[in-house]
Amino acid sequence: MERRYFLKAVAITGVASTLKIVDGFEVLAQTSKATSGSAGYDLVAVMGGEPDQMFRRAITEMGGIGKYVKPGNKVTIKPNIGWDRNPELAANTNPVLISEIIRQCLKAGAKEVIVFDHTCDDWRKCYKNSGIEDAVIAAGGKMIPGHDESYYREIKLPRGVNLKTTKIHQAILDSDVWINVPILKNHGGAKMSIAMKNLMGIVWDRRYFHNNNLQQCIADCSTLAKKPTLNVVDAYRLMKSNGPQGKSLGDVVTSRGLFISTDIVAVDTAATKFFNQVSAMPLETVEYIGKGETLKIGTTQLEKLNIKRIKI
């Protein structure tokens, strides 16, 4: 017995020591004044900067990327690349943000960083015209397709109410860490498209969602055992109307925001409240967020969370 405890202790100390080194290194590497990184915020909200700049600030406050990405990890990043639209139209996640996240992951020692989405429009056009493919390749990541059923594997969602099984992209299932990077948008059917809604892009059969109570299925999908390590909401530009595809620049507001949290329900709550300042969107109308809380995926009680708000 004693030997076993001793060995355990040695192992834990060993792991802990590597953690500390990585942590400290990352915090130092990011910014000189970020020393309170490990304060343990549940949610960090940043406003007023450029996408990459805001992410650097936010992740530092979250404890540094090294807290989430370990050397040798296979990282998958899931932006929203649903539409054949250019970045200015705010239908897809900002490419500058994606490339910054990739760079940070690689700096933290990630073995590879994969990016994909199950797009709505023709995936080749979406990847290209969103600017994301170019950004990913330039940053050293790898863009993989998500348009064919063969890339998806069936999993069980035991906590799901309407959605009990679904097929999930293998890049998510086979990753060590995955980062959910939606863009903040209005949505005609689901009301809002943020982090929980972005999970529809890791799923093969989306028609099932629409046919079996969309709001419930979105919440059910977030009960996924392999939940996102981080949720980064891109609100540099938001789509205030005609979402999720949008018609024109008239639907876009440059709001210069970014929210990051490990709690997918909390980050959706925060982002919806942010959106509500631009266009009325009471939290209770976005039913899947409440349903997510009921399923104990996360909390909508932002006042109970340790939130860091930064204005640049």
Partner: protein, 519 residues
């Protein structure tokens, strides 16, 4: 000369075929220019530059077109080459020209065409027939190989190759393509260029011009010992070694005879503007019968094949039109008009100009354009229409209009396309999930690029699709994604004459000041 001909033919044939197969845009789009040089499409497009050039080339050099530009001609030469590999002693006897047959085929095509029955032309035009072979037979094979490579690559974490969806869009087109390939393949394997010289209307017309060509093959120069080798090696069966005459209307200037002559007694040379047509061929009953028999059996086969496909194709092709399964709350509907691609202006014009080469079907990146069976009636068989089972028309894409060689789809800009209404959305409220299940959906509105389908407040927190006709471009995004089955809650009905849609694009972002977090 034969070698030059073979190299040029193989290059052009490969480029045309690869352009049909290339789904990944590896080849430059400008290659569609090669299709513009095909005679029948050029004729329908009234592409005078191409037409005059082809006439001039033929008047100068003979049927170069048939040897090097026509993919079906080159395909036949390949079959002929194969035949020679297996039968070293393969001989082509000299055959009499089937003048009446040839010209009655032309007359039939012209009469049928002027009478509005284009199917015969579309069936016989060698380029279009080859296009259908490439689209319906070669492309699925190519995709299957690609998918195999992709599967292996993906296994080793390589995503350079990606999987492609293979599906049979139209049994009728597949059956016709297979029959065409088998019949023409068999004829050329056995009899060389028999199709080109008895049935093909392009061959007959160019053959007529070729009689007057400036440069011709000339037999029996100094040294000819009348060995007859040229005659038995002529895949067009147009050389009569006995009389040392060539039927120039059937000579496809392949230079095989020039190459084969041991005595160098055959030359391709300037001959002046004389028809120089040998009319003195004796009646060779044997050859005569063989040709007639082949032609008859070929036409019977074509006839049977088309009949067969009428019945074989019925289930599959009509499945999208009306499905007989009814559920309690699913209201059936029937589409009245097929949807022609943007740029085709109106359905009659489209039916009149399309040769059903299916280049657009092969190249459509969204797989929206699919060959039809009887959607346009029997005359429009195999011509493409927009169908939304596998995709919907990309809002920004104008590819089909750029590549259509016969101008059945007129070239349009992206701006023009966004103003075109090829069809009009119809909402079947009784089928909608929001009504039947009382839950949110909005998939249709999500996919609508113009918000012709927008979500408006309904009961409680629900929103319901609402139609704005004037904004609809008919892209089919809504129909494609609607989750309701067997009959969807939203569909696009074709506009027989394309109309204009209203464009309401705001050029500026709304100036909204957000200076707090809101929580």
């Amino acid at each position: 000369m034969k070698k030059v001909r073979i190299v040029i033919s193989l290059i052009l044939f490969s480029l045309i075929t690869c352009y049909f197969l290339d789904f990944a845009d590896l080849l430059p789009q400008q290659l569609h220019g090669l299709m513009r040089w095909q005679l029948i499409p050029a004729l329908l497009a009234m592409n005078m530059v191409v037409l005059i050039s082809l006439v001039v080339i033929t008047l100068l050099f003979g049927r170069i077109y048939c040897s090097s530009l026509c993919p079906m001609g080159i395909l036949q030469d390949m079959a002929d080459w194969l035949a020679k590999r297996f039968h070293r002693k393969k001989k082509y006897p000299h055959l009499k020209e089937q003048k009446i047959l040839r010209w009655s085929m032309v007359a039939l095509v012209v009469l049928a065409f002027t009478g509005g029955f284009h199917l015969i032309l579309n069936l016989l035009d060698p380029y279009s027939a080859y296009g259908r072979i490439a689209t319906n037979i070669f492309k699925p094979v190519y995709l299957a190989i690609n998918n195999l490579v992709a599967a292996v690559g993906n296994y080793f974490n390589n995503y350079h190759f990606y999987e492609m969806d293979i599906f049979m869009a139209s049994i009728s087109s597949l059956v016709i393509a297979v029959c065409t390939l088998l019949i023409i393949g068999f004829l050329s394997y056995k009899y060389g260029r028999l199709y080109c010289n008895t049935i093909c209307p392009v061959g007959t017309v160019l053959g007529f011009l070729a009689k007057f060509s400036l440069f011709k093959i000339k037999l029996g120069n100094n040294g000819c010992n009348s060995c007859g080798l040229c005659e038995i090696r002529c895949k067009a069966s147009c050389i009569d070694a006995a009389t040392k005459e060539i039927d120039y209307s059937r000579c496809v200037t392949c230079f095989n005879c020039v190459e084969v002559c041991n005595k160098k007694a055959i030359a391709y040379q300037f001959s002046g503007w004389s028809p120089n047509n040998p009319h003195t061929i004796e009646r060779d009953s044997k050859g005569f019968d063989a040709t007639k028999r082949t032609f008859l059996s070929a036409s019977i086969l074509v006839g049977l094949a088309s009949l067969q496909k009428v019945f074989a194709g019925r289930d599959k092709d009509s499945a999208h039109k009306i499905n007989e399964i009814y559920t309690s709350h699913n209201v059936p509907f029937k589409k009245k008009h097929p949807i022609t691609p943007p740029g085709s202006v109106d359905v009659n014009r489209f039916n009149d100009s399309c040769t059903a080469c299916q280049l657009c079907v092969s190249k459509c990146p969204s797989q929206v354009l699919q060959p039809t069976f009887t959607a346009y009636g029997i005359i429009g068989m195999m011509q493409p229409a927009m169908r939304f089972e596998h995709g919907y028309c990309n809002y920004h894409c104008t590819l089909c209009s750029e590549i259509c060689p016969s101008k059945a789809i007129v070239e349009i800009s992206e701006k023009e396309k966004k103003k075109l209404q090829v069809g009009l959305v119809h909402f079947v409220k009784e089928n909608c999930v929001v009504v039947t299940d009382g839950t949110n959906c909005g998939a249709c509105s999500e996919h609508c690029p113009t918000q012709a389908v927008s979500m408006q407040p309904y009961k409680g927190n629900l929103t319901i699709p609402t139609i704005h006709n004037e904004l609809c471009v008919g892209c089919g995004g809504c129909e494609y994604i609607c989750p309701v089955r067997p009959f969807r809650a939203i569909y696009v009905e074709g506009n027989p004459v394309h109309l204009q849609a209203k464009v309401t694009e705001e050029k500026e972002e709304k100036k909204v000041k957000v200076d707090d977090f809101g929580f």
